[in-house]
Every structure is written in C-alpha cells, then in structure tokens.
C-alpha cells in the first residue's frame, strides 16, 4: 500500500477532516466503487484517496477494540467500507443554516443573466423540500442585488468578457451629470452593495475604471480584441467601490436634518452625528460642479466647512443669482 499523498501545498487538517466525514456516507452507499472514481468525486489523487482510507481504517468510536474501528478495504481497486454506522449520516444542516442557504440561493437565482440557473434551481428545490414549512420563513427575507438593472446589459458585458472583446459604452458620469462615450476592455463583472459594476480598462481614461450598470445608457460589443493591458490590475474592492485618490479635494459639510439624506446618497468618507439630527460629513471628490449645484438647492440646509474656496464659490453663485432676481427692470428686459 502506498504511503501518504504526493501533493504540492500541504492540506489543512480541517479540509481533510471534512472530506473524510463526507467520504464515509458516500462510500457506504456505493460499496465496491472504483477507487479512481471516488478520488475524482472528492477531487484528490488516487494516492491521497488511499491515504485517507488508511486513516479511516484507524478511526472509529472510542474503545480501542477492533470492532470499534471502521473497516476499509480497497484491494483490487474497489472500495468497501464497514462498521461505520456512527458516522453514516449525510450532511445535515440546522434550520438556520438551511434558511441562510435558501436565501442565498434565491438571491443567486435572481442574478440577471446567470448561466448556471439549473444547478441553483435544483439545489433550491432540495433544500426547500427538506426544510418543509421552515422554508416559509425565508420568504420573509428579501435580498436585493440590483435586479432592476437591464439583464441585457449584464449579458452583453459577460459575453464580451468571455470572448475577450472590446466594449463601447455610453456612460453617465454622475459627478458631472453628462453622458460620455468610451471604449473599454472588460475585466470582470461584480456586485457590490446591491449594485452591479463592470470593471474595465478604459481607453479614454487610460486606466482601470468601475462602471455602474444602472448608469450605462448603451453597451455594444465591438469587433476588436478586448484584452486589457498586462499591467491593468483589478481594484481591491474590500474597502468599497469608491476609492477616491488622496489628491482629490477633501470637502467637509455640515448638514441640517433636512439634508441628512445627502450622506446616504453620495459616497462619504466619514459621517459624524451631532445633537438634533445635524451631521458633519467628509467626502472626497475630483469635481466640485455637482457639489455647488447640490449646495444651492439645499439652501440653508447645508454649509461647506472646508474648503473655503468651495464656500466662496457657492456664495458668489448665490449672490449673482439673487442680484438677477433683485433687478427691477427684469420683466422689461426679458419681455422685450
């Protein structure tokens, strides 16, 4: 019998244990299965499979008597197990675990343009029948992963990704409130905080950019190679989507309760709540045009604390506008 498995990276004890525990009921229900087939099923080499069986051979209930141990035979390439009734139980999930899985699978099934719908639906059906009435509780949990996004846009992006083709986008830049046209090489499609994003190498910006699908107004697969440059690296998204560069302007705002929605609506660095629903918000932005517009409309509900230049712009714009309203000859001017 061969010795321990050959392998590159050492396997963790927990992953081996979970394989061993899964292996017992599987083998018990398939007495005489070929060892190669079992190895394939568990994704290990035949040598590893033999090593696992050797270990099972010395496993069992406490007692140290021969009949306390699992019997394993694999002479002639076929595997037989015996005396393993105590761990002959298929995977069991607690109700809470099953519900978590159901909710997760439902969310996955709702993903627009998902390829592997069958597998998800089958797993869901099994879980729902196994949990019975308990699964009704899961209907009360809703997971939103941006289902409002046009499935065609997502499917188009995925097609381009799979075929390494370039994409043409008409994209709304929220900060400037204008539609832009650009060619991009797709890198991946991700869902973060209930929004779908396309990460791609942008030929206009000459850099990696994230595009929110609900701001993509038009998307088209081009007949051109869309392999991103070798140095294009996906962003680390753990910290969130908005990773404004440190060179962006730091803006601090004081928001009265009537403008509290602003800190939910726009990406902020920090929000500090004061008494009476007043909040102090810090955010970074490369472009202040949208902020000026926001501040005029918020009126007395918001104040720029920093930078002074932005406060001055808001003040100057408001003054200029008010001068026009104060002009006495307004109607005659425009009435012509």
């Amino acid at each position: 019998v061969s010795a321990a498995a050959s392998g590159s990276a050492p396997e963790s004890a927990t992953s081996r244990l979970s394989r061993l525990l899964t292996m017992v009921p599987w083998l018990l229900h398939r007495q005489g299965v070929e060892i190669e087939e079992a190895a394939r099923e568990f994704g290990v080499s035949t040598a590893q499979m033999e090593a696992d069986l050797e270990l099972l051979f010395v496993c069992g209930t406490p007692g140290h008597m021969p009949d306390d141990l699992i019997e394993a035979e694999w002479e002639g390439g076929r595997v037989y197990l015996g005396n393993a009734d105590t761990i002959n139980r298929p995977l069991r999930l607690g109700v809470d675990e099953a519900l978590a899985l159901i909710v997760g699978l439902r969310a996955l099934a709702a993903v627009p343009g998902l390829g592997e719908r069958d597998a998800v639906d089958r797993a869901l059906a099994k879980l729902e029948s196994a949990t019975g009435s308990a699964s009704a509780a899961s209907a009360r949990i809703q997971v939103s992963i941006g289902g409002d996004v046009a499935a065609e846009s997502l499917a188009t992006a995925r097609t381009a990704l799979a075929q390494h083709r370039r994409l043409h986008l008409r994209y709304l830049v929220a900060a400037r409130d204008e539609a832009t046209e650009r060619d991009v090489d797709p890198m991946r499609v991700v869902n973060i905080d209930a929004h779908w994003y396309l990460e791609a190498w942008c030929h206009v910006a000459e850099g990696v950019r994230l595009f929110r699908f609900d701001r993509i107004e038009a998307i088209e697969v081009l007949d051109a190679d869309g392999t991103p440059p070798a140095d294009a690296r996906p962003r680390d998204l753990d910290a969130g989507v908005f990773t404004p560069s440190p060179s962006d302007l730091l803006v601090r705002l004081r928001l009265e309760p009537g403008a509290a929605w602003v800190s939910d609506y726009y990406p902020t660095e920090r929000v500090e709540w004061l008494a009476g629903g007043v909040s102090l918000v810090s955010l970074r932005t490369a472009d202040t045009a949208w902020l000026r517009r926001l501040l005029w409309r918020l009126g007395a509900q918001a104040t720029v604390l920093e930078p002074a230049s932005l406060a001055a712009e808001v003040r100057a714009g408001a003054q200029e506008a008010l001068r026009a309203y104060a002009a006495p000859d307004l109607t005659s001017l425009h009435g012509g």
């Binding site: 005029w296 409309r297 918020l298 009126g299 506008a321 309203y325 425009h334």
Partner: protein, 48 residues
C-alpha cells in the same frame, strides 16, 4: 415649462445657480430665492 410640484422644481432650478432665472410664477420664483438666500446665509456665517 410645465411642472407639477413647486418645491421639487425649485430644487432643480436652484441647483443651476445663476444660470437659470425664474420670471414667473411668483410662487416658484420665491421658492428658488428662498433656497439661494439660505445658501448665501449659510456660507457667510462660516467664512466671516
């Protein structure tokens, strides 16, 4: 221009700052002026 909600439309109009001027109706004009005066007051306080 037709509009339904004076306050919502005043939000939009005032966001254009000096670029848009409401002649009439008076109600909308006042709603816009109120926002701009608020913005002016809020920003004079700080920079003084």
């Amino acid at each position: 221009v037709d509009f339904a909600d004076t306050e919502a439309f005043a939000d939009e109009i005032s966001s254009f700052g000096p670029d848009v001027l409401v002649e009439q109706p008076l109600q909308l004009r006042e709603a816009v002026v109120r926002r701009l005066e608020g913005a002016l007051a809020a920003h004079q306080e700080v920079t003084r």
